[in-house]
């Protein structure tokens, strides 16, 4: 039976208004609420549904990050993942290194399907899924909004700029989850208790033969330039006048 691997990234919660450090060395994460990357929750939900349909036997949640990422893996276990693996590193991991680490786990676990979020809401890079597929030399289906497995292949609907694209891929493969793939389930208290007993293995990133040395050097992190404050108009006539003056209508 199929094994599905799901990526779970620990990120600053999407409701947090992120602030840049005054010295330009990054963003403030101390004392900030951390969560599972929302797209990864969607990826995990899809994996659970595939297992619940009897099309997979096991769902493994994998995170790459510091010890604290165990919290997000516990959330994944509470949602229903069977077990979890933390690839531990205290350094920031670029997508290419993340893909290399995931590939090592994929090989070790003999996974048939990897589902990742289409992007993480911290670096917004949207690279790991295609990079993993490239290194693995397997198909990729990014921005997936519908997934149907039939035998050894899957039919995928992708959210592309022009509309919806349907492709067919052979498994094993890498899929990246878009927003409308599903609506992730809520975690119930008994599940949180049960999750504490599920296996969570910790492996050092270096033990996988992957270097966390960044390929790109961040030299400065700065806040965006603010837009200048606009004006409030009192009615439609004033609005239309203002737009006409600017030659916009």
């Amino acid at each position: 039976m199929r094994k599905i691997l799901v990526g779970v990234k620990r990120v600053v919660d999407y409701n947090v208004r992120v602030r840049v450090k005054p010295d330009g060395s990054g963003v403030i994460t101390d004392g900030v609420k951390m969560s599972v990357n929302p797209f990864d929750e969607i990826a995990l939900e899809e994996a659970l549904r595939i297992r619940e349909r009897g099309e997979a036997s096991e769902v493994i949640a994998v995170s790459i990050g510091p010890d604290d990422a165990q919290q997000q893996l516990r959330t994944a276990l509470a949602m229903g993942a069977d077990r979890a693996i933390l690839v531990k590193t205290d350094r920031l991991v670029e997508p290419l290194a993340a893909a290399q680490a995931l590939l090592a786990i994929v090989r070790k676990e003999n996974a048939d399907l990897v589902i990742l979020g289409k992007q993480a809401i911290d670096d917004d890079a949207a690279q790991t899924a295609p990079m993993l597929a490239a290194l693995w030399d397997r198909p990729q289906a990014t921005f997936c909004s519908k997934l149907e497995i039939k035998g050894g292949s899957a039919t995928i609907v992708r959210e592309v700029d022009a509309g919806l694209e349907t492709i067919e891929i052979d498994l094993p493969a890498v899929i990246s989850a878009d927003l409308r793939l599903n609506e992730p389930r809520y975690v119930k208290l008994p599940d949180i208790m049960k999750a504490k007993k599920k296996p969570l293995d910790v492996i050092e990133l270096a033990a996988l033969g992957v270097s966390a040395e960044p390929g790109l050097k961040p030299v400065l992190t700065e806040p965006p330039k603010p837009r200048s404050k606009g004006i409030m108009v009192k009615d439609v006539a004033e609005l239309v006048d203002a737009l006409k003056k600017k030659g916009l209508v």
Binding site: A162, D178, G215, G230, L239
Partner: protein, 314 residues
């Protein structure tokens, strides 16, 4: 010298404007010599359009039946074959480029710069993170190839008037059979394309239903504008997914953006903050959209939109 390969995006007939914006980004790279690569089953027509873009030195075409549809697993190995002659490989940060370029980068074993929004040097670029709340300047190693996607909203489209030489390249290549294109259902429409339109009218959750959302389409038609939508409106089924504007949808930079019934979540604002003029119409005077709006109007959208529509007919 920076030898730059820009991967053209097209639908088989027409070159996407995103490519022209990529070319502008490429021109800002010191010492740029720009080649555009067009992959397709019959790339001649698209290549002719790419050859006209100002700043393009050469266009190369790779004609093959397997290139009829843009599948990353099929295109990436071919791009890697071409890559030997170049220092930089650029694609637009559209769903096409975001799907393709990381696959190219990984095959080359180099990191990718996603959503380059400013060129600071041949190997130095700015990009947005955290939904645009933190702008990071990144330095890529000069002894390796730079692979980047370009945030199209940050660059104007390159003009015409060019006359680059077009040449065909043959690549020895067996396309993988594991990935197969089935179909694409593009909402066929005569309306301007959201990603490149000069004017955009967007509707949010406050529209309340798919039927009500029609007033957005009507106003957009009146103004010659493209239609956009907030994530909430798309999630609720008022508008199709390809109209979503924001961090996880389209990032746009129109001359005029009219946000109707959109509160302005940070994830939405990141998609519009390069718009030249933003108009916000919302009944909640405290809505965050007013913080970025050039012109704000507080009131009931169901009264304001028809009134606006009417006053624009005069």
């Amino acid at each position: 010298m920076s030898k730059i390969l820009v991967i053209a995006e097209h639908d088989g007939k027409k070159l996407n404007q995103a490519t022209a914006r990529c070319v502008t980004c490429a021109r800002l790279i010191p010492g740029a010599e720009i080649t555009v690569a067009v992959f397709g089953a019959d790339p001649a027509a698209v290549a002719a359009q790419a050859a006209q873009l100002a700043g393009v030195a050469r266009v190369v075409t790779v004609a093959a039946a397997c290139n009829a549809h843009p599948l990353a697993a099929v295109l990436a190995p071919q791009i890697v074959t071409l890559a030997a002659d170049y220092t930089h490989l650029l694609g637009a940060s559209t769903t096409f480029g975001k799907d393709l370029m990381p696959r190219v980068a990984a095959l080359l074993g180099v990191p990718q710069i996603s959503d380059a929004m400013a060129v600071e040097g041949a190997y130095k670029f700015k990009r947005p993170t955290y939904a645009g709340n933190a702008i990071v300047t990144l330095e890529a190693p000069p002894d390796r190839k730079v692979v980047a996607t370009v945030r199209t909203a940050s660059f104007e489209a390159a003009g015409g008037g060019g006359a680059a030489a077009v040449s065909a390249v043959a690549i020895e290549f067996t396309a993988p059979a594991h990935t197969r294109f089935v179909s694409i259902s593009a909402a066929s429409s005569d309306r301007p394309d959201l990603a490149s339109a000069a004017k955009v009218v967007s509707g949010g959750r406050a529209l309340g239903s798919k039927e009500n959302f029609e007033i957005i389409f009507k106003l957009a038609e009146r103004m010659g504008a493209a239609v956009g939508a907030s994530r909430a409106a798309v999630d609720a089924g008022y508008a199709p997914n390809e109209l979503q504007v924001g961090q996880t949808g389209k990032i746009i930079a129109p001359e005029l953006y009219v946000a109707v019934g959109i509160s302005g979540a940070i994830q939405h604002l990141t998609g519009i903050k390069d718009a030249k003029t933003i108009v916000a119409i919302n009944k909640d005077a405290e809505a965050p959209i007013f913080e970025v709006a050039d012109f704000g109007l507080v009131g009931d959208l169901f009264q304001i939109v028809p009134e606006l529509d009417k006053s624009l007919t005069k």
